[in-house]
């Protein structure tokens, strides 16, 4: 019971310390936030709000192409981009633009289809636009140009085929010209899935993949930061033993018939509670704000628990090596940085196409490495053997460190 009293008192003091709060929560979040800023938000999928462009069109074409073009632009696929209204005469279409009921009017001439299948005729599709607008009419112009270019390509194909046939003393029939033109159109528009020269991906899909990548990177970074600073919290909490020793409160505690073992247990418990709160808050924050997927909830809880024990044990051991706060400062500054960075080396190698197995093994020299390995395995959904082996390694390592740290302090205060 007294151990819990000591732990609660220590937590109260820690959560009133700006220094402790900064290292427990603010810095890990800031560093992850910095990476989020560099790589992009990585948050939930963002959508650009875009008002569809109102377009009026007249189709004077006597053939089929004009109707096909309007059919494409009026299709559901482009409904988010264009709202097409087909009117009977050009004057109505132009008037709609003048009245700002439409941003542009597309005027398809009468010989549009004929131009495609004959080599002598010429036709122009006219775009009538509101001169004060740029974006909407620009998009419409781009779409029309794309379609007309395709048609021009088809027209050239028919022309070349006719020339080649003429060299052989033959003439293409209108049916042959049409078949040739449609074959060209089908190929150039990607209609034939097999043998298509260009693979088109939808922008939405690319964004989702990019976001998933960023979230994954942020997850690894925040995971590494969490582990790094959890171990710092462990050392910070145990360092209060030395602080209390220098302030005389530890001696006073010994004067209250509280055995040293109970006091040391209280300090260990304080460290564990602080780290647990820290990890829970950071993982929740990472999920809610950065959209990080930590893996299965049950396994994440296992990770939080073993890392809590590991960081508390390591802190106890590390601080037991120091005689006073000055030495503890060196351990917390240099020792934890070196071991923490070594432990995080596994994260840094994730981007490497050829991971260095030596470095991967070296990370296991420090408990942070085991914790990092466990978290990465959980996040990547690796085999249960890999996850539980890392967890078990961390537990064994932590038990040894806790025992050593406890023994050293017990001996000192006996």
């Amino acid at each position: 019971m007294k151990a819990l009293d000591i732990a609660i008192k220590d937590m109260k003091q820690a959560f009133r310390s700006l220094f402790a709060i900064a290292f427990m929560f603010v810095i890990p979040i800031l560093i992850t936030g910095l990476f989020a800023f560099i790589f992009g938000s990585g948050g939930e999928d963002t959508e650009i709000s875009f008002e569809p462009i109102a377009v009026q069109a007249t189709n004077q074409d006597t053939g089929e192409l004009g109707a096909i073009m309007l059919q494409i632009w009026g299709s559901d696929a482009l409904s988010d981009l264009i709202i097409l209204t087909v009117v009977e005469d050009e004057a109505s279409a132009r008037q709609a633009v003048d009245d700002k009921q439409a941003e542009a009017a597309i005027l398809i001439p009468a010989n549009f289809t004929e131009t495609l299948f004959t080599t002598s005729s010429h036709a122009e599709v006219e775009i009538y636009q509101d001169p004060t607008l740029t974006l909407g009419p620009g998009i419409v112009k781009s779409l029309v140009t794309q379609f007309v270019d395709t048609m021009n390509g088809s027209h050239i194909t028919v022309k070349v085929a006719n020339l080649q046939a003429a060299e052989r003393g033959q003439t293409l029939t209108p049916e042959q010209s049409e078949a040739l033109s449609m074959a060209y159109y089908t190929t150039i528009s990607g209609g034939a899935q097999q043998g298509s020269l260009i693979s088109l991906e939808s922008p939405g899909g690319e964004q989702q993949q990019a976001n998933a990548g960023v979230k994954s990177i942020l997850g690894f970074i925040m995971g590494g930061m969490m582990i790094f600073y959890a171990y710092f919290t462990g050392a910070y909490a145990s360092n209060t033993i030395l602080t209390e020793q220098e302030n005389g409160t530890l001696e006073r505690m010994f004067g209250t018939a509280t055995p040293p073992a109970v006091i040391i247990t209280g300090k260990l418990l304080a460290a564990a509670l602080m780290i647990f709160v820290q990890l829970v808050i950071l993982t929740a924050f990472g999920r809610l704000v950065f959209g990080i997927k930590w893996g299965a909830l049950g396994l994440l809880l296992v990770f939080i628990l073993v890392t809590t024990v590991g960081a508390a044990a390591f802190g106890m051991f590390a601080i037991s090596l120091a005689k006073d706060r000055k030495q503890a400062g060196v351990i917390m500054g240099a020792g934890l940085t070196v071991t923490g960075m070594l432990g995080m080396a596994g994260t840094f190698m994730l981007s490497s196409p050829t991971p260095n197995s030596t470095i991967d093994t070296l990370t296991l020299l420090v408990p942070q490495g085991w914790a990092n390995r466990a978290l990465l395995a959980i996040m990547e959904g690796l085999s249960p053997e890999r996850i539980w082996l890392s967890v078990l390694g961390l537990i064994v390592y932590s038990a040894v460190l806790a025992a050593l740290g406890f023994f050293r302090f017990q001996k000192r205060f006996a």
Binding site: K2, R252, G255, T258
Partner: protein, 314 residues
């Protein structure tokens, strides 16, 4: 049946490597008394108290608290003791009440017993209206009072106070001295260390004078003063430096000892009325000008001077 003392110190030795901080101290302190350890800084008072409190293990010897050995039955012995350390030992970032609550729990108090005891202590140390303030906002005197209050939470049979009035204002000092008397009136045994002779004289039933790790005298105030008999202490101040110039004065009639300083001297004499004219004659002969004379009746300072040849505050 053998008498049981509140504190019984038996041939206590405590060494720090080669330094003998306490050497062969034996004392018996009766329950319900105020006992002072008087001595200059470095005399071994704090070390003795640390051993009595169970914070230091004795190199040799033992201490019994109501018959329980502080080495063999440490926890049982500690239950009887409340220690007021010399330096403030509180959590500055916690409030006064939070400090009392935590330390109360460390002494094993819980629930309503703890809450009522905290309220009593707050009234006693006159900090009830500042109980929600963090200790870091307190004055030195307020911290001292809280420092004492913490030691009283579990109603100990013995309160050990290690120089509790060091570095505080006269008003707070007065409050602390009054609180010591009040605690004693409630039946508590008080072990008090100080290098202020007046405090020991005012508070104590018995006094042990320590120097260089040893008890050089022990008894009630009157018993101690009788050590020096009816000797008066005369302090002379000279207009010039007197180094090595009072050698001949040792042979003047009625002079017990001379403790010279740069331009002053403390002299223990059998009768100051007879000695003073002799001093003025000797001063004239040695071409020394006496600028002031103070005559003290026998007190603890005189005793310490008599026993060690040094002033208590040196």
């Amino acid at each position: 049946m053998e008498k049981q003392f509140a504190i019984e110190i038996k041939d206590l030795h405590r060494y720090y490597d080669d330094i003998k901080a306490v050497e062969g101290v034996s004392l018996q302190i009766e329950a319900g008394t105020v006992f002072s350890l008087l001595g200059p800084n470095g005399a071994g008072k704090s070390t003795t108290i640390s051993v009595i409190s169970g914070l230091l293990r004795p190199t040799e010897g033992d201490v019994a608290i109501f018959g329980k050995s502080i080495t063999g039955q440490a926890n049982a012995a500690k239950q009887h003791i409340g220690v007021v350390p010399q330096d403030i030992a509180l959590y500055e970032d916690l409030t006064c009440r939070e400090n009392l609550s935590f330390w109360g729990k460390m002494y094993g108090l819980r629930g309503t017993q703890l809450e009522s005891r905290i309220s009593e202590i707050l009234e006693m140390i006159e900090l009830a209206n500042r109980q929600k303030d963090k200790v870091e906002k307190y004055s030195g005197g307020m911290k001292r009072r809280l420092n004492i209050g913490v030691a009283l939470l579990h109603k100990p049979d013995i309160v050990i106070m290690d120089e509790p009035t060091v570095g505080i204002d006269p008003q707070s000092r007065r409050k602390i001295l009054d609180s010591v008397k009040a605690l004693n009136e409630q039946g508590m045994t008080v072990l008090y260390t100080t290098h202020y002779m007046e405090e020991a004289q005012e508070l104590s039933d018995r006094i042990a004078i320590m120097d260089h790790g040893k008890v050089i005298a022990e008894g009630s105030h009157n018993e101690l003063v009788r050590i020096v008999g009816e000797l008066d202490r005369v302090e002379l101040t000279f207009g010039t430096e007197i180094t090595d110039r009072l050698g001949e004065w040792q042979h003047l009639p009625g002079i017990q000892s001379i403790t010279p300083d740069t331009n002053a001297a403390s002299l223990l004499v059998e009768d100051s009325d007879q000695a003073l004219p002799l001093f003025f004659e000797a001063a004239a002969r040695d071409h020394l000008k006496i600028t002031s004379v103070t005559v003290h009746e026998p007190n603890l300072e005189t005793v310490f001077l008599h026993l060690t040849g040094r002033a208590l505050r040196e």
